[in-house]
């Protein structure tokens, strides 16, 4: 198991950002879903060794995060895409990735530059690498941050909403890249996009109000909304959420009225029911 969290919690002053969370994960892509403020970023920053948990034990890639030597060992094999990331003024894309490569202890210039070129090519940025970052589009900047995370072929990839700012085609290509990377390494990716989870993750964890509300397969999450999704012309009183669907009429989730015809649920239905509904932890359906 590459990721081993035991009762990890985080408190900022009096505010609890993360309730005690235990999570184990091995190779493959683990999707982290949750609304804003659910604690996703806090959890990922702990996994990226950027912040220390208030309590609990974090073991990553076989090393203890509490020890300086353990953190250094983890960071040597870690790639991290933060949710928000600035750039130093005046840098080109190449200089930015090169700067991070130095921080990742690539001292020799030739091998370092070869590696920088490689990750830029993986993210399709070769042609714009010499441009100043402030002249790049939002999607290109996001890809630049992803590119630096791929330096040195890390064993653990922590991606905090990597697809924000990418257009549909770039998102598709990103999913392709990540699925390719998942072979033989651990990837944790947080997202708002349920389609990202469906396309990428064999396992999904839903985080809500600082705690884990679901941990299982995407189909299991969808199945939680079995018999609780229906369409009707007007909003029914039992609906937790209702929105206009493609076929006309309102797609609703919640407690259907008598006589309503349930429709097959999607992952999004299950997720919305979970975070928009009761808020209690739901067990994975067998």
């Amino acid at each position: 198991m590459d990721i081993h969290l035991t009762n990890v919690s985080k408190t900022y002053g009096r505010r609890r950002a993360l309730d005690p969370v235990s999570l184990n994960a091995g190779h493959g892509v683990l999707g982290l879903l949750g609304p804003n403020g659910a604690g996703k970023t806090t959890l990922l920053r702990i996994m990226a060794t950027v912040i220390a948990p208030t309590a609990g034990q974090v073991r990553l890639l076989g090393h203890d995060c509490a020890l300086p030597a353990g953190r250094a060992a983890i960071r040597r094999r870690l790639g991290y895409v933060p949710q928000e990331c600035g750039f130093p003024a005046g840098f080109t894309g190449f200089e930015y990735v090169d700067y991070v490569a130095i921080l990742k202890e690539w001292a020799d210039r030739r091998t370092r530059h070869d590696e920088v070129r490689r990750v830029l090519a993986v993210m399709g940025l070769t042609d714009v690498a010499g441009r100043r970052i402030r002249r790049l589009s939002g999607g290109m900047r996001r890809r630049l941050v992803i590119a630096q995370a791929l330096l040195g072929d890390p064993a653990l990839l922590v991606l905090d909403e990597p697809t924000v700012g990418l257009d549909p085609e770039q998102r598709l290509r990103f999913r392709d890249t990540v699925s390719g990377l998942a072979e033989g390494r651990s990837v944790v990716v947080s997202t708002h996009q349920t389609e990202d989870v469906v396309a990428l993750c064999p396992r999904v964890v839903v985080l809500h109000e600082g705690g884990i509300r679901y941990d299982g397969s995407p189909s299991g999450l969808a199945a939680m909304a079995d018999g609780r999704v229906w369409t009707a012309a007007d909003r029914d009183p039992g609906a937790v959420l209702a929105w206009r669907s493609e076929g006309g009429g309102l797609r609703q989730i919640g407690v259907p009225p008598a006589g309503a015809e349930p429709v097959p649920p999607s992952l999004e239905d299950g997720y919305l029911l979970l975070v928009g509904g009761t808020g209690e932890r739901q067990e994975v359906p067998a």
């Binding site: 060794t49 030597a69 003024a89 990742k104 530059h113 070129r117």
Partner: protein, 270 residues
């Protein structure tokens, strides 16, 4: 439209680099305008050689320009990669540089008889290295801090590299004080030790409390102390007395010993 083509033998000799300068130039001139012959050359070209040339070309094209600061740092013995980390000043550090220049200009321009100018100079000068160090690292001043914090590069080493700028700036200020403070060069370096001690404390505490809060608290404490000394004894020089210098020296040694011990422990646990 080019009707004539170079024969295969000539092109093969060209690709192998066997032609003399005049004929090489002629063939190259022809190749520029003739797609057919370019294709012939490509087919017989030495693949490994071509790859090597291409790699060299890319390397030269991509290589980020080396700044003057980087050149100086490399010349004094820093590895090129370390020089790169040290030479990229953040916008916050540039602002700090400007305020240091302002402070120096202020001290030079002020008439020597104006006691309050010298007093404020002496109160503020020790804060120059402290703030220089505090701006080198952390989420408040480094836009890419999240990425930096997740990288294996030693935090202390990075802060020290990025604070290298503090040395020439502090040196320049010592020079300025030598010219302005009544009492000459020996008096002028008195603020150096308090400045270093406060910087060392910032380094020691930043990991726990954040560089900027620590620097701000220490700076405030120092200002209160120095102004208090001026009010209490009539001269700011009391804040630079032998007892204070001794305390500063002890602090410096203690922080250095603590850091060395921490490194030793970290080395043992790995």
């Amino acid at each position: 439209m080019i009707a004539w083509h170079a024969d295969a033998q000539l092109l093969a000799a060209y690709a192998d680099g066997l032609l003399d300068l005049a004929r090489t130039t002629s063939v190259e001139q022809h190749l520029l305008g003739c797609g057919t012959c370019r294709a012939t050359v490509a087919a017989v070209a030495d693949r490994p050689l071509l790859d090597r040339v291409w790699a060299e070309t890319l390397d030269v094209l991509d290589r980020p320009p080396v700044s003057a600061a980087e050149r100086i740092l490399t010349a004094v013995g820093l590895a090129p990669s370390a020089a790169r980390l040290a030479s990229k000043a953040s916008s916050a550090q540039r602002a700090w540089l400007w305020s240091c220049a302002l402070l120096a200009a202020f001290a030079i321009a002020a008439p020597r008889t104006e006691g309050w100018v010298i007093m404020w100079f002496l109160v503020l000068a020790p804060l120059v290295p402290v703030i220089g160090v505090a701006l080198a690292y952390g989420p408040d001043t480094d836009p890419m801090h999240e990425v930096v914090a997740a990288a294996p590069y030693s935090r202390l080493r990075l802060i020290l590299l990025r604070s290298l700028l503090v040395i020439p700036v502090t040196g320049a200020l010592v020079l300025v004080t030598g010219l302005t403070v009544p009492g000459g060069p020996t008096m002028s370096a008195l603020w150096l030790l308090p400045g270093l001690a406060l910087s060392a404390m910032t380094l020691a505490l930043e990991a726990r409390l954040g560089a900027l809060p620590v620097a701000a608290a220490l700076s405030l404490a120092w200002i209160v102390f120095a102004v208090g000394a001026r009010v209490g004894t009539g001269t700011v020089m009391t804040a630079y007395g032998p007892a204070v210098q001794l305390v500063c020296l002890t602090t410096l040694v203690a922080v250095a010993a603590f850091a060395a011990y921490g490194r030793h422990q970290a080395g043992r646990s790995s």
